[in-house]
Amino acid sequence: MTKRLLAIALIAAMAVCAAGTAAMAEGGQTPLRILWWGSQTRHDLTMAMLDKFMEKYPDIKVEPEFTDWGGYWSKLATQVAGGLTPDVIQMDHAYLVQYAGNGVLASLNGYIESGAIGVSDVDPSILASGNVGDDLYAVPTGMNALVLMYRQDILDEAGLTLPFAPTWGEYVEISKQVFEKTGRTDTYVVGAGMDQLRFSLRNMGLNMYNEEGTALGWDDPQFLVTNWERVLKAQEEGYGLGVGETTAATAFDDLVADSWVGCHWTNELEAYQNGSGVELEMSEVPWRDDAVQPATFFKPSMFWSIADTSAVKDEAATFINFFVNDTDCYDIVGTDRAMPISAKIREYITPNLNPAAKKGADALDRLSSEGHITPVMKPDVAAHSEIDALLTQYNEQVRYGLVDDLTEYARQFIEESNALIAKSLAAK
């Protein structure tokens, strides 16, 4: 018995070893490792797109690796630590400064200048969202905007309409009436998170962080106080969902179980419609009543970057160029990585979009044509994710009614955030 077990174990172990050594690339092709995160749709589309890419560039043999979102940043960091950084890396806005700042990513300036990555059809301000300092480290895969997604059926029931660009005053009034007429609460009005703060700053022409990235770009505690007061009022009067009264387990069923509205990126419309099973409409995020300028911005949904250690940077650039400019690529991937950055490609794919993607594209068009888009935001400071988490903590305290002096508390947040930025800069 034991002997037989041992024999099986040995044979199996040998099979495992054999599988391990069969990893060499076949004859003459340059291997190009690409790592991305996504869901099944993206994995399917990307694999098909890579087949097309290899068909057009037969000298390159792509070695794809993909993960879920949650595991991606552990895997990528571990690979960097082990000296196994992939050649082409899908990058996110929140991590760009960190990866570029630590020398993991290659500067792409040379490839832009030489035209290896063609950007003649790309709006320079959009491309600049991949800049860190003076260098371009990441090419956006597509553009998005943060909007409200809401249920017209609920508004119809209450006999209300939400303007495309509501002010907070208008919005809160509608939220109240929805509650009075249908009993439905609102989870957006009690959000008060980073996005609401950022939009209200942008309405006043300010940025979350200053130009140099050395501190917050604002110092008036009133920005936070206004948001917090709105939350507390909504909670008290009942049209905002009370803290902890959540029934939904995810952001999808939130639109069915607790609320009639949420704040999401345009390219997520399809996911939210599928997940919640209801039809959604889009409007702008509410403006401050005293706004001096629009706040909405196009944000790169994600980026492609090249590893600084890569031995095949030219091939990597070939791939990125293919992704930015080749219609063959978009015949396959469509808007899976959001609205393409090349104007030509946008024109090319628009007629063939599915209804949900079409709605998203229309919203983006409307935002631009009404002139409601302000410049792309700069990449956030490296300490941003920590400041974001800090704000969540502060909001919780406020929502649980544990804070007496909101102004003082807002000051404390500003101070603590600046300290976090200073600390992360000192670490470098």
Partner: protein, 290 residues
Amino acid sequence: MVAGGVKPIRRVLTPKLRRAALYHVLMASGSFVMLYPLVWMISSSVKPNGDIFTTATRLFPSVVTGEHYATGWRGFAGYTFAVFFGNSLLIAALSMMGTVVSSAVVAFGFARIRFPGRNVWFVVMITTMLLPSQVMMIPRFVLFNRMGWVGTYLPMTVPAFFGGAFSIFLVMQFIRSIPRDMDEAAKIDGCSWYGIFLKIVAPMIVPALVTVGVLAFIGSWEDFMGALLYLNKPNRYTAAYALKLFNDNTKIDYGATFAMSVLSLAPILAVFFFFQKNLVEGISIQGLKG
């Protein structure tokens, strides 16, 4: 008849039967509470996407669909879940074998033989259990990378053949509850430590080894981190890893995740039933000896 039904039943049921009935009622209702999540998951896996959360508290779906099983099974990069399940089976079976053999051998050494340094090594072993795995991940990856093992199943299987602290300690506890009479008798008959291990102790710890084996199998089957860090090629992905690949930061295909999670439970349940059968057999062998 109906109205007076209570009395005759009470008369028919002896205290022993009544106790048995109570026992089964308790166990069955306990089982229901424990099984609720499984039923919920199965039911969610056949609900259309829009219904999964909107009708979450309803156990019986109003519309039944097999689409999640179809899309889920399709898998990724042209490899269906059949491939991923196969990979997981190979890895879990190897880990199980490695754990069983190595923990039996090492535990016997620690539990039965007095040798210099025994206590020190035992403390070292327990200490290795105490460090959270998260901070070992990167140094381990660097090490396995230097050994050229990244991209293979070796980091996920070979260490099992050298004993995990948890399994060794568990088997030790079993060995220590076996009286020494028999080893001592065998020693007097000229039997070596190796003979005692193979002929006397090993057969007596079969239930412990089965338990350790089952736990090792399940642990390996559910290991997501190992696959995330060490596997690169889609055709090598395991089921636990593939299950997560339905998750983007915003788009999560819950239907497919649930459907494949349900399927992924089947092999571990099979192992569990196998375990039960062997547990009973283990006893009967001992019964014969005792």
